[in-house]
Amino acid sequence: MNKQQSVKAAQSIHGGKHVIVENKMLQNSQKMHAIYITNVIPTLGFIGAIIFSIYYGFGLFEVVILVLMYFISVTGMEVGYHRFFTHASFKSNSFITSFLAITGSFCAMGPVIYWVANHRRHHRHSDKDGDPHSPHKSGSFLKGLWHSHIGWQYEDNAPNTAYFAKELLKNPLVFQLNKYYLVWLVLGLLIPTVIGFFIVGGWVGALSGFLWGGLARIFIVNQVTFSVTSLCHIYGKKEYDTNEESRNLAILAIPTFGQSWHNNHHAFPNSAYIGLKWWQIDIGGMIITVLKFLGLAWDIQKPKKRIK
């Protein structure tokens, strides 16, 4: 490692600490993960699932395994990675902490502490220099759309986890959950494969579970989630005068489990509830309410008064 490869350069420094860590080895492993694990393999899996279904059909099992695994993964991503780990919008026990970190890892978007650090970076610099995935900083509309949806994952430097998420690094349970990210990711592919093997039977069932409940599910979850970083900073209604470009985009409310009320979220980032009007469907918020009634979520943060 020479000095350039090592650590020194940093985009900006806050309180004497680097916000990002420029290191070739880190950047390469992050880029390879983003290209192959987050994007290329799930995309090929999605195409494979369609080809598979042309030959073997798309029946009740495929619908159920896709919806079930989608529900579990987006719960992990939206309720877990996002509302619980990043914004600490409620508290819970070790079981739920583990469940959310594991099912969030099913989405192939990286280990939980890395994800949290990037997302906190996004909130600190939203649509300004330093935002990892703003659609408004790339020069042209299409470049911005690509950058905010997928491109940023290939170009970016690693966020400094010790700066953005040190409380998670110092939490031994979360540290271990973070460390075994790839194990959880594989588990998320194995579960639907095994279910398919036993319920439908044989390799056709296993392959159907693997493709629809595994890879195609990751592809769909990711495209929906990436739409929050891209479309929800371009299209929709800006109800709150936040100092960035987030929007409330109703059409994505159900698949994003409420995150597409994105302007609400930027106005009240630590709120466990993102749908703030009765008609703003917020499945993530409903899941937190269910956890609360089961005694599995407490200290739930609600929106504080804000001048509109």
């Binding site: 490692m1 020479n2 000095k3 090592s6 650590v7 020194k8 600490k17 680097h18 860590v21 290191n23 080895m25 880190l26 502490i113 890395y114 650090a117 690693a158 966020p159 400094n160 986890t161 010790a162 040190k166 690094l169 110092k170 031994p172 540290f175 271990q176 973070n178 460390k179």
Partner: protein
């Protein structure tokens, strides 16, 4: 970089001080026999620590060494041997 003669204790003290700053932990709370993982050093933090450590000892250090010698005590002993 100029290779320097550095003692085991000097490297240990430096690591305690560096990790205490990076992760905001009191120096007294850092046990040199605990694994880096247990202290909260992930790969991103590890890269920063080894980058700074390179300057202190005066030769290149691969981040992988933090996994091979996973405590402050073990890596300090290994590195101080290398400076001799």
């Amino acid at each position: 970089m100029i290779k320097k003669l550095i003692t085991n204790e000097e490297i240990e003290d430096w690591l305690v001080s560096n990790i205490s700053q990076v992760l905001e932990i009191e120096k007294d709370e850092i046990d040199t026999t605990l694994t880096f993982n247990r202290l909260g050093v992930d790969s991103i933090t590890g890269v920063q620590i080894t980058g700074d450590l390179e300057e202190m000892v005066g030769f290149k250090i691969d981040t992988v060494l933090l996994f091979k010698y996973p405590t402050i005590e073990k890596i300090s002993s290994f590195l101080s041997e290398k400076t001799k």
